[in-house]
């Protein structure tokens, strides 16, 4: 199978995964709205939790993978790693935007304010800024090898920065609810709600994988076409 055919197959696979993921997210939303009990203190507003938290999880997954793959790129110099980092960063930008939009919608009725300068909110906002910088940088560099190296450096430094921002703002002030799932004593979230959350987490992870595969496939198609063009020229 030629490079181009391989890349096209990746795009196809990404499309199929995305369709499955979007369907799964829709089903999770139905389950969250109709078949999961209303939270006692927050009321219906808490329903956005099943969208907000999984989106945040997959945004940070996207970002973490950009950091790891960037490090691997600087080490191994494989073009495909750069294409994957680009794909993951693009997916991550959209997911981060979803987090930043759903967050204030949840915050307004519960905290009484659309925006507060809390640790997790601030680190997500800066995640978004770094993704924007990442795309601007990629757009500004024309040489593919320079672009790959430069954006890998930004990817690594960015991955080192986000925990720092989180820690600093946490020491500064924080307002987010305490973790209800990932805590040493085990989850405090009731079973039905936890199941809905986990299903939604799975659906969003699949959405991340689908989008990233799709975007990675597009990058590969573009590269294969350039190779063909160079070969014939």
């Amino acid at each position: 199978m030629s490079n181009l055919e391989q890349a096209r197959a990746l795009v196809k696979r990404g499309q199929v995964m995305t369709v499955i993921a979007v369907t799964a997210i829709a089903l999770c939303a139905v389950r969250a709205l109709l078949f999961t009990p209303v939270e006692r203190f927050q009321g219906p507003a808490q329903k956005i939790f099943y969208l907000h938290v999984p989106a945040a999880w997959s945004a940070f997954l996207a970002f973490g993978l950009v950091g790891i793959v960037s490090g691997l790129y600087l080490w191994l110099d494989d073009r495909r790693l750069d294409l994957f980092a680009e794909a993951s960063a693009e997916t991550g930008t959209i997911l981060t935007a979803i987090v930043l939009i759903t967050g204030p919608i949840w915050g307004k009725p519960i905290w009484g304010a659309w925006w507060v300068w809390d640790a997790r909110l601030t680190s997500t906002l800066f995640l978004f800024f770094i993704f924007i910088g990442y795309h601007s940088l990629r757009a500004a560099v024309h040489d593919p090898q320079d672009r790959a190296r430069f954006s890998a450096v930004l990817g690594i430094l960015g991955a080192m920065l986000i925990p720092f921002i989180h820690l600093t703002v946490y020491l500064f002030r924080t307002q987010h609810p305490m973790p209800v799932v990932a805590r040493p004593e085990g989850p405090t979230l009731p079973g039905v709600m936890l199941l809905t959350l986990l299903l939604s987490l799975g659906a969003f992870t699949l959405l991340y994988l689908g989008w990233t595969t799709l975007r990675y496939g597009i990058g590969r198609v573009r590269e294969a076409r350039e190779e063909l063009h160079d070969a014939t020229a």
């Binding site: 601030t122 940088l137 430094l157 820690l167």
Partner: protein
């Protein structure tokens, strides 16, 4: 390697002191921004002393950000960078040299800003507070200029570098800025240095992570 790094830093500073264009411009810029802070304040609602830490930190870090790009953009003229790369100098030494040069530049700006802030904002500054603030300024600038040096090398050849450099660097300002402002405000308030040791440790960790990180990634930036 340290000697080579110092040679590079000394070369940059000497070039800067001879032309003086960047240093004078940066100092004038910093003084102007500090004045603008005073006018951006409603004197009946916000006292000068309350605004002073923010003014000092925003002015100092923005002026430093403006000058960061110079570390490598000046090397682009007459292909000076090629000469530096051809010299038998490890890439790490180039990084350390450029970083020390940028650090000296950023601290020179702070040396002007702090007395000006004391003057403009009528601050009561004890010797103890001044020593503490100096320590905090140094700690904050060490890590920040290390990151800045990496990005300065990264954008040096790009056409949109003036816009891109602040976009890439400013997020990295958040930890040192928060730590710096918090510590400065407490020290100005007369609290002892031991009260801000948490922030000092945070700044130290930031310095360590980004100086080491810069050293590790920088050599790959100069590959041709």
């Amino acid at each position: 390697m340290i000697r080579l790094a110092l040679t590079i830093a000394a070369k940059d500073l000497r070039a800067e002191l001879r032309s003086r264009t960047a240093l004078v411009t940066a100092l004038a810029f910093a003084a102007l921004v500090l004045v603008l802070f005073e006018f951006a304040r409603d004197p009946t609602r916000l006292t000068a002393a309350l605004l002073a830490p923010s003014a000092v930190w925003i002015t100092g870090t923005f002026a430093a950000t403006l000058t960061l790009g110079r570390a490598f953009s000046t090397e682009q003229d007459h292909h000076a960078m090629d000469g530096l790369l051809l010299a038998p100098v490890p890439r790490e030494a180039i990084f350390i040299g450029k970083w020390l040069g940028a650090l000296a530049f950023a601290l020179a700006i702070d040396v002007l800003i702090v007395p000006l802030a004391v003057l403009f904002f009528n601050l009561r500054m004890t010797a103890e507070a001044l020593a503490g603030i100096a320590l905090v300024l140094v700690l904050a600038k060490v890590g920040f200029t290390a990151v800045g040096t990496v990005f300065s090398a990264l954008v040096a050849k790009l056409r949109s570098k003036e816009l891109l450099l602040p976009l890439l660097v400013l997020p990295f300002l958040v930890p040192p800025l928060i730590g710096g402002v918090q510590a400065t405000a407490r020290l100005l308030d007369g609290q002892p240095l031991s009260d801000v040791s948490g922030w000092l440790r945070l700044l130290l960790a930031y310095d360590l992570v980004f100086v080491v990180g810069g050293l590790l990634v920088f050599p790959r930036l100069l590959d041709e």
